[in-house]
């Protein structure tokens, strides 16, 4: 499990990407989408049993 603190204090990417990749802000927008999940094939509530109670 990754450290869940709010800010990276490691160096996740010390090799920035080269310029030239696609820009989502100027790319043509999709006109459709897929809905996930479909009814009837959904995850089940696993319950909180795999977690510990918070310290009082």
């Amino acid at each position: 499990m990754t450290d869940p603190t709010a800010y990276f204090d490691d160096q996740p990417d010390d090799d920035p990407p080269p310029p030239g990749g696609k820009d989502p802000e100027t790319s043509p927008p999709a006109t459709d989408s897929v809905k996930v999940p479909v009814p009837g094939a959904v995850p089940v509530d696993p319950g909180p049993e795999d977690e510990e109670e918070p310290n009082p």
Binding site: T2, A6, D13, P24, P29, A30, V34, K35, P46, P54
Partner: protein
């Protein structure tokens, strides 16, 4: 490089953070019931949409799965990235981009730009499931890329924290979802946030004794977000477009503040000490 990382969101349970153990844990169920129907099992994309808006706004806006679900118009089951986009625009005035023709490599490129990428997957073939059996479609979020091993940081709403995972299984599941839904492997179902600004790793205790304007974003393109005239905060300092900006992290004692995530610039009423 430091940048804001969103808190994880579980689609079934609220999460709280245990500072002593440095981990999140489940607390109470969301129970997102609308017209008698409990949407928690169908809220994977809604949960991911809530994680994404935290990333998109640097923590200025945080919400729940219901905060996404209940502000879009599809209540027939699961939702898509377009529905998340609808909720963002309708309720928060924010833009989630849902481009056409984005491949897995395009998504990794976006993550390397410090964007957060929501994407739909066929979870039945996913090699890293958090539930068994897992014969359902699902939504995941890619929050970062790690150059040392090319792994990506994945938020899964069935868990309690992001995981560094190989790209291979995530790519396969995302492409399978696209192909099954009538697209191609190079045309994934994605929702992509803005680029997150770099944050300085230097944290300061900042005492404010006079008028200081707060903003939603640094660098002059943010909206005004109230002001403060007397406060002490812990802040992260970073340089944006050649000027120093502070982003509020917490109150001086580390407790939460309503101004978390807001930005301001130093002036004669601002005294900062490195902590």
């Amino acid at each position: 490089m430091a940048f804001h990382r969103p808190a994880p969101i579980n689609q079934f349970y609220r999460l709280d953070y245990d500072e002593t153990r440095d981990r999140y844990f489940k607390t109470t169920p969301w129970n997102n019931v609308v017209n008698g129907h409990d949407y928690d099992p169908e809220n994977c994309m809604a949960a991911e949409g809530a994680v994404a808006i935290d990333a998109h706004t640097g923590g200025r806006i945080t919400t729940s799965p219901a905060g996404i679900r209940n502000y879009q118009s599809d209540f027939k089951g699961g939702i898509g990235v377009d529905d998340v986009q609808d909720a963002w625009q309708r309720h928060f005035g924010e833009m989630l981009w849902t481009p056409r023709g984005f491949s897995w490599d395009d998504c990794v490129y976006a993550a390397r730009q410090r964007r957060h990428v929501a994407f739909a997957v066929d979870y039945s073939i996913y090699p890293y499931p958090l539930q068994t059996p897992h014969a359902f479609d699902h939504a995941l979020g890619m929050d970062a890329y790690r150059s040392s091993d090319s792994e990506v940081l994945i938020n899964d709403s069935l868990g309690t924290g992001a995981r560094w995972l190989p790209q291979s299984g995530n790519r396969k599941a995302a492409e399978a979802m696209a192909i099954r839904a009538g697209r191609s492997a190079g045309d994934l179902f994605v929702g992509i946030t803005a680029i997150r600004p770099l944050l300085g790793v230097t944290r300061y205790r900042v005492t404010i004794t006079g008028h200081v304007q707060l903003y939603t974003k640094p660098g002059g393109d943010g909206d005004e977000a109230g002001s403060v005239s007397l406060a002490t905060y812990l802040c992260d300092r970073s340089k944006v477009d050649g000027e120093w900006w502070y982003q509020v992290v917490s109150k001086a004692d580390g407790s939460k503040t309503a101004n978390r995530g807001k930005w301001f610039q130093p002036n004669r009423y601002v005294k900062a000490n490195l902590v």
